[in-house]
Symmetry: C2
Subunit: 365 residues, 2 copies
């Protein structure tokens, strides 16, 4: 059996990243914008930092990039999905606080402009705007031959919500039901490990997919390559989540039957711990795992706990909802995501994530 | 005399960039957000593309990066100003449509996180937020060793304005007075040419400044290096411009005495042509030119027309205002920028920029 691999061994130093971000945050100070004026920062119990005041609304900004998934797109000259990944990473974060995404801007850095690449990225961004129902409100393409060696793509999404409709985690309580929304595949996290594993076993991205990629919702032909599967675009959850929040406002008068929303990104299931500083999370009925995760785990000899901390493992987003409304909320979101399911519950057994597979256990994110 | 240099010879292919951006834009389509709903795109006469509807307001996003000026910061390990540059490039663009910047997010891509660098960038961003009076509403630091070889920094600013207060250029007319706001130096454009010239003559950035860098508003000691002068942060014009717009609303009932605002970035004076598709612009009394421009021009044997198309040449922002109010507007902005001055006029002699130096002439941007 080959040496076990994990995220750190793939070259990403999470501790160093944490220290760097802490340094950045430590340098910051309070905003000069006074409470009650447009742009004044709003501190919510859940610690989501991107909200600002705007009259009777709150506005939220999210900024993120596609990361090293781009290197696979570049390796196979296929940028059809990266715009969707970029959009998804941002708008899915906005959804977690209950914000409706309305606009997006992209930032592309390249060593040298290439009209063909830009047309492909542009088409991908256009598709992403349609999927997320946002306006593309600008963008920048920078030629930086001394700084980037290949295309980098990031973006910023703007969302809004009513002042009293923020989803902060403060309503979370033991007994809340966890509804999982399926991921489309690897999404845009963990690609350093993906690339390390594939590199070690000596495959190239244009090779025929070495496992059967069939999974609910996929329509791959027999000629699917490894890249086809790895580049499946990240799912954008605007339609089910914004649809649900509007439906709850109309039917119950508020969004507050939803107590917390988590976007499962880098950190995997451990992301749940961010929503509350005391409650626990138990996954007793996990989502089905797409075949690429199983294959990567075997090829990389990766532990269960590491897999579920690095990848989404089929679970793209979690809604923690009031027990009383769980079935009706599930039915509602199944109109958009047919395989959405109840995957577990919130408990008061301590600030940890537990799983039907007892090896999967997190106390830190 | 050495071979003459220009922006294209410094390695930036403006035509290729234009083609790339055109490809990107060509791929885009109309927003799915319907007129009258938050996020619906707003088309203004001046063609500024980043505005969206939001109730009785418009929101605007601007996204841009620091560009190759970062390579000088990295070369001398001094990131004290790059956050200010990043902020300025974005908020100054928002000001051009009359939007008040209220929030900002940054995106940093590095080959490897370095807490010391991030602390310096963070301090610079904090200072920038204070100067621009915006809330830092988030940020992302990405480790992308396969994509970037050194730090890239970009950001996105959010601004707002009343629905009837957009400055679009549609009110521009012959006789309007041009008020220039001084730049602080090179700002964040033209650095490919700056670096080419310095590279050709064999200086390093830590060399003692080879010319006297003294200029209005500067307090350089005798030990100033070339980098000290090149890295002077881009001026942020929020205080004079937002102050002026608020003052005009209070005193005249609207902002419309200001007919157009241009941020002088890459493209230099030719940027003015973007504000109107028929009127002309004559600069009869240019701003004083900071000494670094004169030195670069001599060392690079660069023509006047190329200098004024690549650099700001001391002129950071132009306000085109109603003649009747020009003197009072000038007095107002001089409270913030003492050397602001009337530099010329709008005319109806054709869609071109002319200058007291007849070599400086632009018909295209």
């Amino acid at each position: 059996m080959s040496d076990p691999m994990d995220y750190a061994s793939s070259g990403v130093d999470i501790d160093l990243e944490g220290a760097a971000v802490a340094s950045l945050i430590g340098s910051l100070q309070r905003s000069t914008r006074k409470p009650g004026t447009p742009g004044a920062p709003v501190d919510l119990p859940g610690g989501f930092g991107g909200l600002i005041e705007f009259g009777n609304h709150l506005l939220a900004l999210a900024t993120d990039g596609v990361g090293s998934k781009l290197q696979i797109a570049t390796a196979v000259s296929n940028w059809d999905s990266v715009g969707i990944d970029c959009m998804a990473m941002n708008v899915n974060d906005l959804l977690c606080v209950g914000a409706e995404p309305i606009a997006f801007v992209d930032y592309i850095a390249v060593p040298k402009p290439d009209p063909e690449v830009h047309a492909a990225v542009g088409a991908s961004l256009a598709k992403a705007c349609e999927l997320a129902n946002v306006t593309l409100a600008g963008g920048e393409t920078a030629s930086l031959p001394g700084i980037v060696t290949e295309l980098d793509l990031s973006g910023t999404a703007l969302g809004f919500l009513d002042k009293d409709s923020a989803i902060t985690g403060e309503r979370l309580k033991s007994g809340d039901v966890l509804i999982g929304l399926p991921s489309s595949g690897i999404h845009s996290n963990g690609f350093s490990l993906v690339r390390s594993i594939i590199n070690r076993i000596g495959l190239t991205y244009t090779d025929s997919c070495p496992f059967n990629p069939a999974f609910t919702g996929r329509a791959f032909g027999e000629n699917a390559t490894l890249a086809d599967v790895l580049l499946i675009p990240t799912k954008i959850y605007c339609a089910p989540v914004i649809g649900l929040l509007k439906h709850l406002k109309e039917s119950l008068g508020s969004v507050h039957a939803v107590h917390g929303i988590a976007h499962i990104t880098g950190g995997g299931l451990s992301n749940l711990l961010r929503l509350h500083d005391q409650l626990g999370w138990h996954i007793d009925s996990p989502m089905p795992i797409p075949p690429e995760f199983t294959w990567l785990q075997v090829e990389g000899n990766v532990t269960d706990v590491e897999m579920h901390r690095t990848f989404n493992m089929g679970l793209g987003m979690v809604l923690a909802v009031e027990q009383e409304h769980a079935e009706s909320i599930l039915s509602f979101v199944q109109q958009f995501e047919a395989t959405a399911a109840i995957i577990g519950h919130v408990n008061d057994h301590g600030h940890k994530v537990t799983h039907v597979n007892s090896e999967i256990f997190y106390k830190h994110y």
